[in-house]
């Protein structure tokens, strides 16, 4: 059985059909990429699956359980993590605290214990800080642990989002254009990072415009255009698909 099953998924914003009748399955342990021209509905699809938007029609199943209509925090409880195309970093916190927030669900969130500084809670927090620092090392941000988030570069913040998502210990991670706006060197680093994440057993769903990276990493690829599924298959199949070539290069190419 597939880990994630999406069936006839649609969402309309007024008259705009941003995603229309999209169906696909994602198997556990693979890297699955979603590509398509700008405005094709890739990020909307992410927002639907991670609960930020509620679908107009259709269903989404995670391990056979229907999850459409659930809120993002309920999905987080089920091991679904994501990053954002437009950065969503808490600029009022330090870098390491941003990562520590990722572990929210694994912690004791009791208010009274926190206010009275229960020793167990404090110790757990110290361990977590070390764990978060290790995660930052893993994504290549080892030197920024104590830095304030608002003092970090764009490329570093992109990776900080990935570290925060990993702090959830997710089973399924959605990466929305992790290499957007990065220079070629940084792009290669992110490419290696996504590979490492996949190798650690996390199922990765990737939206990315960098085709070299997509072809390099993906086990399967979904192509969207104008909110509809244009094609799905392995990298080789997608590369040869005439519809995909037409959508990217123009119908008369």
């Amino acid at each position: 059985m597939s880990m994630l099953e999406v069936k006839d998924l649609s969402i309309h914003f007024g008259g705009v059909k941003a995603v229309q009748n999209v169906t696909f399955n994602i198997d556990s342990g693979i890297v699955y990429s979603v590509i398509g021209p700008n405005g094709a509905g890739k990020t909307t699809l992410f927002n639907l699956i991670t609960g930020v938007y509620k679908p107009t029609t259709g269903e989404i199943k995670l391990d056979g359980e229907a999850i459409h209509g659930k809120s993002p925090n309920q999905l987080a409880e089920r091991g679904v993590a994501r990053t954002f195309q437009n950065l969503q970093i808490c600029m009022n916190m330090s870098a390491v605290e941003n990562v520590m927030v990722g572990a929210h669900l694994r912690l004791d969130r009791n208010l009274v214990k926190a206010a009275l500084r229960f020793p167990g809670l404090k110790k757990r927090d110290r361990d977590l800080r070390d764990e978060a620092a290790q995660l930052m090392d893993f994504v290549g941000l080892g030197q920024y642990v104590e830095t304030r988030a608002d003092a970090m570069s764009y490329g570093a913040l992109k990776r900080l989002e990935i570290a925060r998502a990993l702090a959830m210990k997710p089973r399924l991670i959605f990466l929305d254009e992790p290499a957007a706006g990065l220079n070629p060197k940084e792009t290669i680093e992110v490419d290696h990072l996504v590979r490492k994440i996949a190798d650690s057993g996390v199922t990765v769903v990737l939206v990315e415009h960098d085709m070299k990276m997509v072809m390099n990493l993906s086990d399967r690829i979904l192509v969207l255009d104008y909110g509809k599924k244009l094609a799905e298959g392995t990298g080789e199949e997608i590369r040869k698909n005439p519809d995909v070539i037409a959508a990217y290069l123009g119908a008369h190419a």
Partner: protein, 310 residues
């Protein structure tokens, strides 16, 4: 957020321990007590406004519930003052929780309007239920006693309030550097990011709103017993604004900023009394100057200037 976060706390405790021996007379002691009471309220409000990024323009209403619970219940029903205080806090907590769920579906201006309305409703109720509350004239509050020992003079009150303030500073520092506190700050920084890591945003907003309302209610009771008299002015809109101003001037999301804001805004009207008729004008000018030159509030701006971070 390193080891020295408690350094400021030690300083506050030391200052509180020395103050009563250096203040020249009871007028100043009274001023210090009112500063400390305001500081506790502002600490709670800053958790809501500065750390969680939500606004409340009705906090004086919660203060009023606590104050009037301490006045009405012992006077009319013969309740013990401590029990009345607890009942006031519980009632405030329940009211805050009931209204918070629908209120926190709102954001920005709408949230401000909703809390404003709530505060005004509480104030109107206190003014109109004259048979219980004395209406616009207010009513006297019986003295606070415990095991036959009665809190009567300012010195005793000072130590009670100083203890409350020290504990509040300690608890606030603990709270913001905990999983709960990080979730609060995260939903301020990016609501959607905090949601996708599992923070139940509405629950946390409700929790901190209730906590800061209960803080206000308890301190309302303390004030009522200390002053010995309550009036509806205590719970009116202008008092709510004054509290928010203390948060903003002192510094949003800054524990020590809350203290500075409370001390400054409690002291300023007294200090400006020499300007006679012009005191409100000077007061307003100082506030405007603060917002133009120190938009982040006194403590965070100065801390950044001297390169400490917070």
């Amino acid at each position: 957020m390193k080891k020295n976060v408690y350094f400021g706390l030690y300083l506050v405790v030391a200052l509180l321990a020395v103050l009563p021996f250096v203040v020249p007379n009871s007028f100043y002691l009274d001023l210090v007590i009112r500063m400390a009471i305001n500081a506790v309220i502002v600490l709670g409000l800053n958790l809501l406004i500065g750390f969680a990024g939500q606004i409340s323009l009705g906090h004086a209403g919660f203060l009023g519930i606590g104050a009037y619970a301490s006045a009405v219940l012992p006077t009319h029903f013969g309740w013990h003052p401590l029990l009345a205080m607890g009942a006031g806090a519980a009632a405030t907590g329940i009211l805050a929780a009931l209204v918070a769920r629908p209120i926190f579906k709102l954001k920005g201006h709408y949230l401000a309007m909703a809390t404003l309305g709530l505060g005004i409703i509480i104030n109107i109720a206190l003014r109109n239920e004259a048979q219980w509350t004395g209406g616009p004239d207010g009513m006297p509050v019986p003295a606070m006693g415990l095991f036959g020992f009665e809190l009567s003079n300012d010195k005793q009150w000072y130590w009670v309030v100083a203890l409350l303030l020290s504990v509040s500073v300690w608890a606030s520092l603990n709270l913001i550097d905990s999983p709960f506190g990080r979730a609060l700050r995260a939903l301020h920084g990016s609501e959607v990011a905090s949601q996708v890591v599992g923070v139940d945003v509405v629950r946390y907003k409700v929790a901190i709103f209730v906590l800061s309302a209960v803080f206000a209610s308890l301190m309302g009771s303390v004030t009522a017993h200390y002053v010995g008299f309550v009036s509806p002015n205590f719970a009116d809109f202008f008092h709510s604004i004054e509290l928010v101003t203390m948060v903003v001037i002192g510094g949003m999301a800054s524990v020590y900023g809350s203290l500075v804001g409370a001390v400054l805004l409690t002291a300023l009207p007294q200090a400006l009394a020499t300007f006679e008729g012009w005191e409100t004008v000077v007061f307003g000018a100082i506030l405007m100057g603060c917002m133009i030159f120190l938009p982040k509030g006194l403590v965070p701006t100065l801390a950044a200037k001297f390169g400490k971070g917070e």
